[in-house]
């Protein structure tokens, strides 16, 4: 068709321009991490003269990076699993049944996003103390699950509602229970939404630094962002080290994403209703 011929090139230029804006700062961060501070000041945009790995070696020497990494993996994986289970159960209930109180429950969940959770930090601290969870990774997991539930329910409920009911009803007539319908019929069709929730929540729990800052005092229980945060104070004048620290804090997530992205993107397209 006529206008497609005209609009295609425009699409391309536009889409790739935005993509380059998305990528460039990250690239700049990684490139700058190989430079010395002096190099960054004199030629901030140039490629590094040499790929100097000393800064990384130094950083890895002072921080127990593998420990932080394992803590982050454990906390994020468990949090995401619990979020997916609890939220899809609740969202299924809210979206698929029309009890009078469903709207109330839905809104009740949304309320959690409307207050800054930092407001409740003192009662939370006391709660964690009473539950004996201070200085435990489980305090973080519970927080990430609890604060992740509202967003996940918002997304999942929205998508559950768009799904045609016919398939479900067929299964129901075959005598399947609710759990089975959710697991075998609904969830497989909801892969794009579940994928979105999964990745967003994973990132969220991976990158948070507020809760570990407050609940975790043991150095070996820290997660990557909070472990890295102390570096920013110590190296505030050494831009080379700062960029290396930023890269080090971000790299695991980027690598994980590239490993998982193929799966994830495929899930996105397959899940679409044909």
């Amino acid at each position: 068709m006529n206008h497609t011929i005209w609009t295609r090139p425009f699409y391309y230029v536009f889409a790739f321009l935005i993509a380059s804006i998305s990528i460039y700062p990250i690239l700049l961060m990684i490139l700058s991490s190989f430079k010395t501070s002096a190099e960054i000041f004199t030629s901030p945009l140039a490629l590094p003269k040499t790929f100097n790995l000393d800064t990384y070696r130094n950083l890895l020497e002072i921080i127990p990076f593998t420990t932080y990494f394992m803590n982050s993996v454990f906390v994020s994986v468990v949090s995401v699993l619990l979020i997916l289970i609890t939220s899809s159960l609740a969202a299924f209930y809210i979206a698929r049944f029309t009890y009078v109180w469903n709207n109330v429950i839905f809104f009740f969940f949304l309320m959690g996003m409307m207050l800054p959770i930092k407001l409740g930090i003192v009662p939370l601290f006391i709660l964690m103390k009473d539950l004996n969870l201070l200085n435990s990774l489980w305090s973080l997991i519970f927080m990430y699950v609890a604060t992740g539930i509202p967003l996940s329910i918002l997304i999942l409920t929205g998508f559950f509602r768009t799904m045609p009911r016919e398939l479900e009803e067929a299964a129901r007539i075959d005598g399947a229970g609710n759990l089975r319908i959710l697991w075998n019929v609904v969830l497989p069709l909801m892969r794009p939404a579940l994928g979105t929730v999964m990745i967003i929540q994973f990132i969220q729990s991976w990158n948070d630094f507020f809760f570990p800052l407050i609940f975790i005092t043991d150095d070996l229980k820290k997660t990557i962002p909070v472990g890295m945060l102390s570096l920013f104070g110590e190296y505030s004048a050494d831009w080379g080290a700062l960029f290396a620290g930023l890269t080090l804090a971000s790299l695991p997530m980027i690598v994980l994403f590239f490993i998982a992205s193929k799966q994830f993107m495929e899930g996105l397209t397959q899940g679409a209703i044909k």
Binding site: T7, Y11, Y12, A15, F16, I18, S22, P25, I26, M29, P44, L45, L82, T86, A90, Y93, F107, F108, L110, M111, G112, M114, P116, I117, K118, L119, G120, I121, P123, L124, F142, A146, T147, I149, P150, L154, I155, G158, R165, E169, R172, P192, A193, I199, I200, I203, N207, F209, P225, F232, W239, L246, A249, M253, I254, F258, M265, L268, A272, K274
Partner: protein, 318 residues
């Protein structure tokens, strides 16, 4: 839109054993429990702070609504409140345009399967992988007036007159932060809109094409109405996030709303009141801070409820 249950299945449903029907009510319990204990309880416990007089971090006597009254009548508090409120509105508007508007267009382009759409998806999403502190720190370095990349690029392009102290000038500081927020959040928008587009049954497109609708008319007549859930999700989220805007502002400008209150948002203002400014030296006003949080909560929940109501009606109408 939604097909009504046919009467056969209703009869079948009713025949199901009682306990099976009853178990469905267990579904939301785990979420309610965790969420109730770790979010609702501490927040509401803290909301009561707003009714007390506070000396530093020690709770004094019950003062009723005095904190609320002070927040709106006592200078400089009331001036700061409205100043921050205006910034939140700007945050919302700019994010709707530059984040969600762009995200929809980009999602549509990807959906149309241009070459390299896989790459595009990943590219848009990359910034979202970074921690907000990293994003803030990175952009602070990029926007640095003397050594930062942005001003250097402008110089190389011969656009020296556009160089600015981006984060130090009250005219550009907040807008810079909001645009960085859009940079950070656009990938999520693309993802949600893409998921929405992909759950539109293909037959509808075919039917639309047969009717001669394509391009813009296709978007208007078929895509937009079916994308209501995605739009609803993004609008509600953007609304809540803009009025709760904290982390990025904090990472880039600290908790003082510098320069000269030009980057104050309600959540930053709340943080400053409740926890004192950054790096000591500042005093706290826990009562006022909590009162501010309550006001913010009432405002956000009122408009969210209103909007959800409206969207639900709209969906039923269709």
């Amino acid at each position: 839109m939604k097909p009504a249950m046919n009467s056969d299945s209703v009869v079948k449903l009713k025949k199901q054993r009682n306990w099976k029907r009853w178990t469905i009510h267990l579904f939301p319990i785990p979420a309610l429990l965790i969420y109730g204990v770790f979010v609702v309880y501490p927040l509401f416990a803290a909301l009561t702070y707003s009714f007390f007089d506070w000396k530093g971090i020690v709770r004094g006597e019950f003062v009723g609504l005095k904190n609320f009254k002070d927040l709106f009548t006592l200078e400089p508090f009331s001036g700061l409140f409205w100043n921050a409120f205006g910034h939140n509105i700007l945050y919302f508007v700019l994010q709707m345009i530059f984040q969600n508007g762009l995200a929809f267009i980009l999602a549509y382009i990807i959906y149309k399967k241009v070459k390299g759409s896989e790459f595009l998806k990943i590219a848009y999403f990359l910034p979202r992988l970074l921690s907000v502190i990293v994003v803030g720190f990175l952009w602070k370095l990029i926007l640095n007036p003397n050594y930062g990349a942005l001003n250097v690029i402008l110089e190389k392009l011969g656009l020296e007159q556009l160089q600015k102290a981006w984060l130090g000038d009250p005219d550009t500081a907040l807008i810079s932060i909001i645009l960085v927020n859009c940079w950070y959040g656009i990938g999520f928008g693309v993802l949600i809109f893409l998921a929405g587009l992909q759950s539109i049954p293909k037959e509808l497109f075919e039917a639309g094409k047969l009717d001669g609708a394509d391009g813009l008319p296709m978007i208007r007549k078929i895509i937009l109405p079916l994308m209501v859930p995605s739009f609803m999700i993004m609008t509600v989220l953007t609304f809540i996030q803009s009025f709760e805007a904290f982390e990025l502002v904090y990472a880039m400008q600290g908790s003082q709303g510098e320069p000269y209150h030009s980057t104050d948002t309600l959540a930053i203002y709340f943080y400053r009141l409740a926890f004192g400014g950054s790096a000591g030296g500042s005093t706290t006003a826990v009562g006022l801070g909590s009162a501010l949080a309550v006001v913010l909560f009432i405002f956000i929940s009122f408009f969210t409820a209103l909007y959800l109501r409206y969207m639900q009606k709209k969906q039923v109408d269709m």
